[in-house]
């Protein structure tokens, strides 16, 4: 605040001004101010020193010097992320010259509620709201002129996201998106893109705009579509969807770590071992390994953790610091409720609409409220500290925070309570951000009133809150892995290498799964060798127990204590294990139509691969090969994009060209989704004369039998006419269908996606966990993916699965159902309804009574809502508490209660 030195706010893409002494953003970790040494007057000119003089904590010490530290470590993990595409590339599109040409980073900040414009979308040139916006894709990607021949993989989806956000802000916006190919190959991305396109009416144009021109402060674009037509239009704003580049200091990192880089300066890895650099002990995760989205980055992050854990298992636990919490102050908890109410501004997120101070003052009038305060960002570290102090100081024993969603922030506040000896259950949240400030942004008065109502209800409930026990249970140190394919074997190996017994259950006669059908990987390695090595390692490992021709029959128990029965050759075997990993895989989709099954000349990509493996002789009479992409995928039999077929097709096309260069190879596609470095293969295929023809879903190519041969009839968009190609071989890219997951899904109570793959707990942040604790997910069972991604994911699942095994104890959710045995009539409705197998019927004297397995209970409350005799109560959500909350909804109700109490 006292710093006199203004500098550009780099976090806000230089669209705003900050000071040399600043915090990048309020939720930064740690949330402490830092001084930009390049701008600081004291550092550079030995003047000023204002901050050091004014800091009452004396926290600024200019005498500090950089220090070199020596750390002894067993493994190094590189996760430097990605770098920015250079300015020269952007300048080609008028960036820097025309103010209304912005990068996607800038657009992100401009549409952000806590950004420089508080989310109001404006043109940088004249601060007016744009009416017409264009998004240009592949800026600095898929562009050999700037040496970035690869595809950045994420820009298509983020452009659609940014366009959707903009449209939410300004419903009348006219948005055009210019794609080369629409590459939304992520899990669920295609569906999300389709929904957005329909909901917001985006104008999707397939063209690459070469340059931007400005006339009268409007931006003129000219492009040519694939029918050869030239078009022009004017826009108010152009967003450059900038790709991901290698980190600027990639060479320095490589020199320091002693690793090799690939031709694009990303870390060099191989498909069989995507997380290993060229140097043993040094591993890589995230975008430095190749451009990728959040789920893949998070997955890789867990994956390297597994590798490090394998390597360092001897030293495990030797350097850990354990958090100790103070004893719970039981006496204080039992006292008459003394409630503290903290109302959060959330910057402008809440305070921009709701009158936070009025809500705070209102809280003072509520019964049992002993302390009330408003905070700027309750979740920031210093605010949490302040809250803890206030709670202690005022001997508060219940805390209500009126802020955002308990889904994201409750654990944080509960942790604060624990740290000062209060039971975390003595906490209640009122979500005045989502439910007031956001949804009633246009009605500030009503929003304030509703905030008061919510706070009153929360206080009413808080008065009745009781501390809940936080039990822990022991873990059986053993893992059960379902599926013996590449993913399953990798998981088993990793868990075993981390020091735990692992049982690998495979349905068929041999290990290998789909990897058995591959001959080489996308980066040209021998897939059979990878498979052989993997099988050898698994078979030799003393801690892995392989069960072939075996299937899971039933599973009961909970995280740390599962008991499963596995059937093998008519016999069943009982297994106790602490965790379970689903790696059951998927299968190549077998399509209908396209003469598949009718003609021997129509095959799938995997069948082609086996043919290619036989060598040149298999193509003796082959002149024309036609490949058709998205057969069955993206809206035919399967709704999803299978992610890897485009790369697979290009890989096989190149192999054919290598075997017999004079063969004509045609590929009919909808969008070529050769994302990441596979783009190189795509370009190589085009250079080697593979002919790519785009088709739309309403004009699909047709395969027709003609005498003894076959031909493919299609519409050629470039020629603008129907063509007919006589083919010796038609290859269908049929995509990946989920395996028979339904049974397993019911058995384990793990939900499936609409497409029939297993659903992860959170698409971005918990990509290898599922809704049920102690069960993990990887490989094709999760969704279509190539070997490289399956291996990363398997490693990630192994890391996550090892956590409870390593800890040896699991904490049980405090919010569980509690069954009052005396009231229970043993009807069993709750046990059948429980989605987590968490209620069992136990003989109690003559009758059976329901009993909650607290470790399995997720606290969903289904049992409590269905119990005919109200024998079930949920911890933290007892009937009394809920009723109190409902009564408090009407202000009179609250008053009556008060009076009743007085009497």
């Amino acid at each position: 605040m006292y710093c006199p030195r203004p500098i550009a706010d780099v976090y806000n893409e230089r669209l705003d001004i900050t000071r040399a002494t600043h915090i990048d953003f309020p939720q930064a970790i740690p949330t402490s101010y830092y001084i930009d040494p390049k701008a600081c007057l004291r550092v550079n000119y030995q003047t000023c020193n204002l901050c050091a003089q004014t800091c009452t904590a004396g926290a600024i010490d200019f005498s500090q010097k950089p220090k070199n530290l020596k750390l002894k470590v067993g493994s190094v993990i590189l996760a430097p992320g990605f770098g920015r595409v250079s300015h020269d590339v952007l300048e080609k599109f008028g960036y820097g010259r025309y103010p209304d040409v912005v990068t996607s980073y800038e657009f992100e900040r401009l549409t952000c509620a806590s950004g420089p414009t508080e989310g109001h979308l404006i043109r940088p040139s004249d601060h007016t709201t744009p009416k017409k916006i264009a998004f240009l894709q592949c800026i600095g990607s898929r562009d050999v002129t700037c040496d970035n021949g690869y595809c950045s993989s994420v820009c298509c989806m983020y452009a659609i996201k940014e366009a959707s956000v903009a449209k939410e802000h300004e419903p009348d916006l006219d948005i055009s998106l210019f794609f080369m190919d629409v590459r939304t190959q992520g899990k669920g991305f295609d569906a999300a893109r389709k929904r957005a396109e329909e909901k917001y009416g985006f104008n999707v144009i397939r063209a690459r705009v070469p340059k931007i021109d400005q006339i009268d402060s409007q931006l003129a674009l000219t492009w040519t579509t694939d029918d050869g037509q030239s078009h022009s239009d004017l826009f108010d704003m152009v967003v450059l969807s900038v790709g991901l580049d290698a980190p600027e200091d990639a060479h320095a990192i490589a020199d320091i770590a002693g690793i090799e880089l690939n031709s694009y300066d990303f870390c060099k890895t191989s498909h069989g071992a995507p997380l290993s650099t060229t140097k043993k002990g040094v591993y890589v995760a995230g975008a430095f390994q190749g451009p990728k989205d959040i789920p893949e980055s998070v997955t890789q992050a867990s994956g390297v953790a597994a590798i490090a854990s394998e390597l360092l298992k001897e030293g495990r636990g030797t350097q850990t610091v354990t958090i100790t919490y103070p004893e719970e102050d039981k006496a204080l908890e039992e006292e008459e409720p003394r409630i503290g109410v903290f109302v959060c501004h959330c910057g402008v997120n809440i305070a921009g609409v709701v009158d936070v101070k009025a809500v705070r003052d209102y809280a003072a009038s509520l019964p049992n409220v002993a302390y009330y305060e408003d905070t700027l960002y309750s979740c920031s570290q210093d605010a949490l500290k302040a809250i803890a102090e206030k709670v202690k100081e005022n001997r508060l024993n219940r805390v209500v925070i009126a802020a955002c969603s308990p889904r994201t922030h409750e654990p944080l506040f509960q942790e604060t309570l624990r740290s000062i000896g209060l039971n975390p259950a003595l906490f209640e949240m009122a979500n005045i951000r989502d439910q007031c400030a956001w949804v009633h942004a246009q009605e500030p008065e009503e929003a304030t009133q509703k905030s008061k109502d919510l706070v009153r209800m929360a206080v009413a409930k808080a008065r009745l809150l009781e501390p809940l026990a936080q039990p822990t249970v022991d873990v059986t140190p053993k893992a059960l892995v379902l599926g013996g394919g590449a993913a399953g074997m990798t998981v088993a190996l990793s868990i075993a290498d981390q020091g735990f017994e692992t049982i690998l259950v495979e349905k068929s006669k041999e290990l290998g799964g789909n990897l058995r059908k591959l001959t080489w990987t996308v980066d040209g390695q021998d897939a059979r060798k990878i498979l052989k090595d993997l099988i050898k390692k698994v078979e030799k490992h003393p801690k892995i127990d392989i069960m072939l021709e075996a299937e899971l029959e039933s599973t009961s128990g909970y995280v740390g204590n599962f008991t499963s029965t596995v059937s093998k050759g008519g016999k069943t075997e009982m297994v106790n294990h602490g965790v379970l990993v689903i790696a059951t895989g998927g299968e190549e989709h077998k399509p209908k139509g396209y003469c598949y099954g009718e003609s021997r000349q129509v095959v799938t990509q995997l069948e082609l691969e086996q043919k290619i493996a036989k060598g040149k002789s298999a193509f003796k009479t082959t002149k024309n090969v036609v490949m058709i992409q998205c057969v069955g995928s993206r809206g035919e039999d399967l709704q999803h994009c299978s992610r890897l077929c485009c790369t697979q097709a290009v890989k096989n096309a190149l192999k054919i060209k290598e075997l017999k260069p004079e063969t004509n190879v045609y590929i009919f596609y909808r969008d070529m989704r050769t994302y990441g470095f596979a783009e190189d293969l795509y370009r190589e295929a085009r250079q080697k004369g593979v002919i790519f023809l785009r088709y739309t879903p309403d004009q699909k190519p047709e395969v027709v039998k003609q005498g003894r041969g076959i031909k493919v009839n299609a519409y050629d968009r470039l020629l603008g006419e129907d063509i007919s190609i006589p083919a010796n071989l038609v290859v269908l890219s049929t995509g990946i269908a989920p395996g028979e997951n339904e049974n397993l899904s019911k058995l384990l109570k793990v939900p499936l996606t609409q497409e029939g793959f297993f659903l992860e707990a959170h698409a971005k942040l918990r990509p290898v966990e599922v809704a049920v604790d102690g069960i993990y997910l990887c490989g094709l069972a999760h969704g279509p993916k190539g070997l490289e991604e399956a291996v990363s994911q398997a490693k990630a699942a192994a890391a996550k699965a090892a956590i409870p095994l390593v800890k040896g104890k699991v904490a049980v959710e405090p919010i569980v159902s509690h069954i009052d045995k005396a009231t229970c009539i043993g009807c069993g409705i709750c046990a059948t309804l429980c989605p987590f197998n968490a209620i069992q019927m136990v003989k109690d004297g003559k009758r059976k009574k329901a009993e909650t397995i607290t470790a399995s209970c997720k606290g969903c409350g289904i049992c409590a809502s269905h119990c005919p005799v109200l024998a079930i109560n949920m911890g933290g959500f007892t009937d009394e508490e809920i009723f109190a909350q409902i009564h408090a909804f009407s202000p009179e109700g609250c008053g009556e209660e008060l009076e009743a109490e007085k009497k």
Partner: protein, 138 residues
């Protein structure tokens, strides 16, 4: 010569000969958005160096009141000397106009950075202004 040939009645008041590299935006879009005066016709040439004097005079004969030629900047011409040649021819055509009793200001050569439409739009507007002041005087 011009009068002998039967010519379709041209409506364009201003004709702009543009080299392929100067105007990138479709002229129809410029007109639709009202960025250029009405009654203007853009004629796209592979290179302004290809433009012959009679073609310029023809434009006037067809009813144009003013004509501009937009070529690359002298030292940036895609065909090295194309716009230099065009400038010479424009100079010559202006002399002819003068001999015919027309103001030479009705013909203008502009040099435009490659691929930028704004200077051309400005040239068209400037010429339109010039025309209206000329008409005001007469």
């Amino acid at each position: 010569m011009a009068t002998k040939k039967s010519r379709k009645k041209a409506n364009a008041e201003i004709v702009g000969f543009c080299c392929n590299y100067t105007v990138s935006v479709e002229p129809s879009v410029l007109k639709e958005r009202g960025l250029v005066p009405e009654n203007i016709e853009f004629k796209r040439l592979p290179c302004t160096g290809r433009l012959e004097v009679p073609a310029i005079l023809d434009a006037f004969a067809e009813g144009a009141k003013a004509v501009f030629v937009a070529g690359c900047k002298i030292d940036e011409c895609h065909n090295l000397s194309g716009s230099k040649r065009a400038a010479k021819r424009v100079q010559y055509a202006r002399k002819i106009l003068e001999e015919l009793g027309l103001e030479p200001e009705r013909l203008e050569m502009v040099f435009v950075p490659r691929g930028e439409s704004e200077p051309i739009v400005e040239a068209a507007r400037e010429l339109k202004m010039r025309l209206s002041t000329m008409e005001g005087q007469s």
